[in-house]
């Protein structure tokens, strides 16, 4: 009975290690095809990268703006309520801009994109897997990592930071709406305060995270897609796991990167 538990734990640990190893292999091969492959006359097609960029970038702008605008509004309302007790409603401006740029913009945008793009990647690769299309690519001598994974990773690597910049802007507009229209702060004063406490460092610490998030979303999406089993049901399950895994890893990575900046400055 007791041994049974150990056996199960052992199996689970082995499975996790295997998943980790496979994930590292996928990452390694992606980097190989991105940087070494071109020297073997097998470049990644730039057309494919641009197609993915259009799909991932332009079609996510609306939802990112929507989410961040309302986050900015909510943040402004919540902080105004607290700050008004201390007579410092003017600081709503800087509070909103700093917390959006440092933290909320990158993380919320990444989560939205994980739900949208990460799920789409897994569904696409997964249904290709269960319909023998991945095997067909391999049989044609077309490496699926070069053909499918690299364009997605590269595209998201460049598009996510762009989306975050747009999202940050939308969030600050949200704060501005409350600050100027509701709290009656002078528009010029609001903008000045918003940028007074916002240093360049806030923006680039925020943006540096997004490169990590982009890799996580694209690679987890592809990994789950490649390991899809069992028809349409399998695709659905893989998609769910992909999104949940991305969420968890994004939060963990956020904690780690923030920690690095935090302890470095101490």
């Amino acid at each position: 009975m007791n041994l049974d538990i150990f056996y199960k734990i052992g199996c689970a640990v082995k499975e996790w290690i295997q998943i980790f190893v496979e994930f590292v292999q996928l990452t390694y091969q992606t980097l190989y095809w991105l940087f070494v492959g071109p020297f073997h006359k097998k470049p990644v097609k730039s057309v494919a990268v641009f197609e993915q960029m259009v799909f991932m970038g332009t079609k996510s702008i609306i939802i990112v703006i929507f989410v961040m605008l309302f986050t900015g509004i909510v943040l402004a309302m919540q902080s105004a309520f607290q700050l008004s007790k201390m007579g410092g409603t003017i600081y709503v401006a800087s509070l909103v801009s700093v917390s959006i740029c440092r933290e909320l913009g990158p993380v919320l945008t990444a989560l939205v994109i994980a739900g949208r793009i990460g799920a789409a990647i897994t569904a696409e690769v997964g249904s290709m897997k269960v319909n023998e299309q991945i095997e067909a690519l391999e049989t044609m001598g077309i490496n699926p990592i070069r053909y499918l994974v690299v364009p997605k990773v590269v595209a998201l690597f460049f598009m996510l930071p762009c989306l975050v910049v747009i999202g940050n802007f939308a969030g600050m507009v949200g704060g501005y709406i409350i600050g100027v229209l509701n709290l009656k702060i002078n528009a010029y004063l609001y903008i000045q305060t918003a940028f007074k406490y916002l240093s360049l460092k806030d923006i680039y610490t925020g943006l540096s995270k997004t490169f990590v998030f982009a890799m996580i979303i694209a690679l987890v999406g592809c990994y789950q897609g490649f390991h899809t089993k069992g028809g349409a049901v399998g695709v659905g399950r893989a998609t769910t796991i992909s999104v949940v895994t991305s969420f968890i890893l994004i939060i963990l990575a956020d904690c780690v990167v923030t920690g690095i900046y935090y302890f470095k400055d101490m």
């Binding site: 073997h40 290709m128 023998e132 299309q133 095997e135 049989t139 001598g141 490496n143």
Partner: protein, 266 residues
Amino acid sequence: MPEKRVAISVQNLVKYFGGRKVLDGVSLDIYQGETFVIMGGSGCGKSTLLRHMTGAIAPTSGKVFFHGRDLTTMNDEEKEKLKRRFGMCFQSAALLDYLNVADNVGLPLVEHTHLDPKIIRMIVKMKLGLVGLQGYEDLMPNMLSGGMKKRVGLARAIALDPEIVFYDEPTAGLDPVVCAVVDKLILDLSHKLLLTSIVVTHNMESVYRIADRAAMLYRGKVLEVGTPEEIKNSKNPIVQQFIHGQIEGPIDFLRLDQESSELVDS
């Protein structure tokens, strides 16, 4: 008859899938230029055998030789080069669903050659002409019927002028007339392009129509190899039951496990 060269030689192939033996010591020689049919009941390992021949999966033990070169120990780069000399027609056609017919057929050309897009379009048109689908270039795979998909898959398989074409159940799920058309297509292509064809099927009519030689696979073993005539006159009761589609006989659908395995061994 001129001396026959062995194109593909399978030696003592054994494959386990998670503890279950799917292929159990398969040995076959396939000669250059012939049309070789692999037949057998559902789930007996035909597709798995085909996958080994194309190098898509590695055997548990045993070897596969392509013109004397061992596929199972080859590194990926060599294998990828070799795969350009193969064409494969999948059981589910396996067309990429985000590409239209012309792009699907042209995919191997785009990926493996540096031909001008105009020339690629001409080749695609010609290959589609060979399978009787000229004028369907701009349709998406989901607008095609099952039989048309299979023929597009066939056109894609011969896009790079391969030496060997593998067909996984090219006629399954098609009406008798289209069946005959596809069979005739396979024969025509083999004769016109001097291909070696390896066809998996469980349609006996097809076997008689196209096969130079045929092998009967049963529970992971080769029961019988020979010309269609020889197969027809086989003394093996399993082969007889299979080709006549009888319910009574050594293939017991409900108790597949014990008794018939003794027959195989004897």
